[in-house]
């Protein structure tokens, strides 16, 4: 459904006179670019949930934004339903939002505090000229019921909702145009455990009911393992391993995946505590991004970045020791 081919994205700080001057005087570049995503390929299959796991700074949110066309990749292609997103003109790009929708992490900051819930939910319909005022209102009421909110609350402002309700609102907004692909960036990390489970069940129900394809971005490995069909683990802007959920714990995983798993399970007998810190995106290490912290690293890891190699059907791993 969605294909990423060798996509990379880096961010440059805005050029400023001061920095240019400083670079001239010191004769070296000041303020290099942040390499958020460094050339990775990934395939999202229709009707599945792809879970994208990684720590902060691993580039998972950037990748999510590239997937829905919010960022243009520096290199590589994003192919959605057979068409390269880069080849679309402005109007076709706008039409894309009928197919791909993004659900933001923090519902408190992604909902406009001055716009009532009804208007926020129907905004997409207005932009695409779908239905008249009455039909839109009816559709919004229907959406609210679908996500478990009473349609009576349609004229409330975002601050009058609780955190869990706001997350339901932003889900309803993402679904208002009946997209076929939903990209959810940390849908449950801003809410409490007892409410979190409500949102997770809602997402799973809606996926089954509407036949949605989903990309779930999260740092929470247990959560992703619960929901996703296919799990992709990112580290330092690169994919470390992609595997179907059924293979979890059945195969020899990438050392980072093992460590991530151990850090989620504090009761486990085999503790793996990693030394060191995730790589600096301004200045990523040569070779495998994980090698400075890897417990199994060998000489080649420091010089050569391992390619993603298939280990089985739907199972890919980027590690020199796992081929």
């Amino acid at each position: 459904m969605l294909n990423l081919e060798n996509v990379s994205k880096s961010f440059k700080p805005p050029s400023s006179f001061g920095r240019e001057l400083l670079s001239l005087i010191s004769r070296k570049e000041i303020g290099g670019s942040v390499h958020a995503v460094r050339g990775l390929s990934l395939r999202v299959k229709p009707g599945q949930i792809l879970g994208l796991v990684g720590e902060s700074g691993s580039g998972k949110s950037t990748l999510g934004r590239i997937m829905c066309g919010l960022y243009r990749p520096n290199t590589g292609k994003v192919v959605f339903e057979g068409r390269d997103l880069d080849s679309l003109n402005k109007k076709e790009r706008q039409r894309l939002s009928l197919k791909i929708q993004f659900m933001f992490q923090d519902p408190a900051s992604s909902l406009n505090p001055r716009i009532r819930c009804g208007a926020a939910l129907s905004e997409g319909l207005v932009i695409h000229g779908l239905g008249n005022r009455l039909e839109r209102r009816e559709k919004v009421c229907h959406l609210m019921e679908e996500v478990g909110l009473s349609p009576k609350l349609i004229d409330r402002y975002p601050h009058q909702f609780s955190g869990g309700q706001r997350q339901r609102l932003s889900l309803a907004r993402a679904l208002s145009l009946d997209p076929s692909l939903l990209i959810a960036d940390e849908p449950a990390s801003a809410i409490d455990v007892s409410i979190q489970a409500q949102i997770i069940n809602l997402l799973l129900d809606l996926k089954a009911k509407r036949g949605l394809t989903m990309v779930l971005i999260s740092h929470d490995l247990p959560l992703v393992c619960l929901m996703a069909d296919q799990i992709a683990v990112m580290y330092g802007g690169l994919l470390m391993e992609v595997f179907p959920r059924s293979l979890l714990g059945q195969v020899d995983h990438h050392p980072y995946v093992k460590a991530l798993w151990a850090s989620a399970d504090f009761a486990s007998s085999q503790k793996i505590t990693l030394e060191g810190e995730p790589p600096d995106p301004l200045n990523p290490p040569p070779g495998c991004p994980f090698h400075p912290r890897c417990l199994e690293a060998v000489d080649i890891c420091a010089s050569l970045c391992p390619p993603m190699l298939p280990l089985g059907s739907d199972h890919f791993c980027a590690c020199h020791l796992r081929k």
Binding site: E55, S194, Q196, A197, H219, P222, F266, A267, S268, P278
Partner: protein, 333 residues
């Protein structure tokens, strides 16, 4: 320098380091109740967890124990007895001398807990200079040793750097080192790993654990992450709507209260368990702080409520073999 005579060791070892009874904190002259009456104690060298969702009053508990309540919040009632000494009625100056020397605190956000315009060295050695009256050189030496214990690579060069040069995990190590610098009897860690990534959080918890064990320091570990506490604490206090609803074992092996059991079921199962069952969420929303208690705070959301739950708030009762629980289901049994 005022040093209250807390080190006399007149208190029995068996006596708890900290004894909190009926602690209540509110905002806006009693309109918003953050903490509705807490009773618990901490023994020497013990690590106790305090879990709760946001708004359950766990951070306000920490602030009131340290005497750091924010503007607008007030202590309504209760006593905090620390090593046989009542803290709530202590004059501010004397209370200040207890903090740091005998009680330390690890804050949630290490970036705001450190002063951005002072070097790490200044901030860490300040503790030794101010509290112990060490010379600058002596304090520096102590600071290097301390940061080394906290697992910072080359502590000597670290001293000259400013907080912004460090990652979140490194900053939190510095904050933990500062809280434990003078081997206090008690450290309150308020969500020390919430701002950190899972693999870094595991490192930081390990540092806190080893450093407090070396110093025989009791730790009150506040978190909303239940998983973090397993294997770390001996007892866990579960808070809901400003009350302790249950005191249970550190590994949550036999939770009694419907809320604790609900929380356990609402957590995504561990990958190792291999199951992918549907989660069982707790219906409804937590009690808001401006609501008064008529009965049990969890009654509106409880799947096992009884008729009496709506009208009478159950007391926190001892249940032999389990701990303490605030629930009518276990009151008469």
């Amino acid at each position: 320098m005022i040093t209250p005579d807390l080190n006399q060791k007149s208190a029995n070892i068996a006596d708890p380091v900290l004894k909190v009874s009926n602690l209540a904190v509110s905002f806006g002259r009693g309109r918003y109740l953050a903490v509705r009456g807490l009773d618990f104690d901490l023994n020497q060298g013990e690590v106790v967890g305090l879990v709760g969702e946001s708004g359950s009053g766990k951070s306000m508990t920490a602030f009131s124990l340290m005497g750091l309540l924010p503007f607008g919040a007030a202590l309504d009632s209760g006593s905090v007895i620390f090593q046989g000494r009542e803290l709530t009625t202590l004059p501010p100056k004397e209370r200040r001398s207890v903090c740091g020397l005998h009680m330390g605190m690890v804050f949630q956000e290490p970036l705001t807990a450190l002063n951005p315009v002072l070097t790490i060295g200044d901030q860490v050695s300040e503790i030794f200079r101010y509290r112990m009256g060490y010379s600058k050189a002596q304090a520096q030496k102590m600071a290097i040793e301390l940061l080394g214990q906290a697992g910072l690579p080359n502590p000597a060069s670290t001293l000259k750097n400013y907080p912004h040069r460090f990652s979140g995990g490194m900053r939190q190590r510095v904050v933990i080192a500062m809280a434990l610098a003078l081997s206090p009897q008690l450290v309150i860690a308020d969500e020390p790993t919430t701002a950190l990534d899972p693999t870094i959080a595991a490192q930081v918890v390990l540092i806190l654990k080893t450093m407090s064990e070396q110093r025989q320091t009791a730790v009150l570990f506040i978190t909303h992450n239940l998983r973090l506490l397993t294997g770390l604490t001996s007892r866990v206090l579960v808070m809901y709507a400003g009350l302790i609803v249950e005191e249970t074992k550190g590994d949550f092996s036999d939770p009694l209260h419907p809320y604790t059991r609900g929380l356990m079921n609402a957590l995504p199962p561990l990958p190792s368990s291999g199951q992918s069952k549907r989660l069982a969420p707790i219906a409804g929303h937590p009690l808001s702080p401006d609501e008064r208690l008529n009965g049990c705070p969890f009654e509106p959301r409880c799947p096992e409520r009884l008729g009496v739950c709506a009208t009478v708030c159950p007391p926190l009762t001892e249940k032999s073999g389990y701990g303490r629980v605030r629930c009518h289901l276990y009151y008469h049994a």
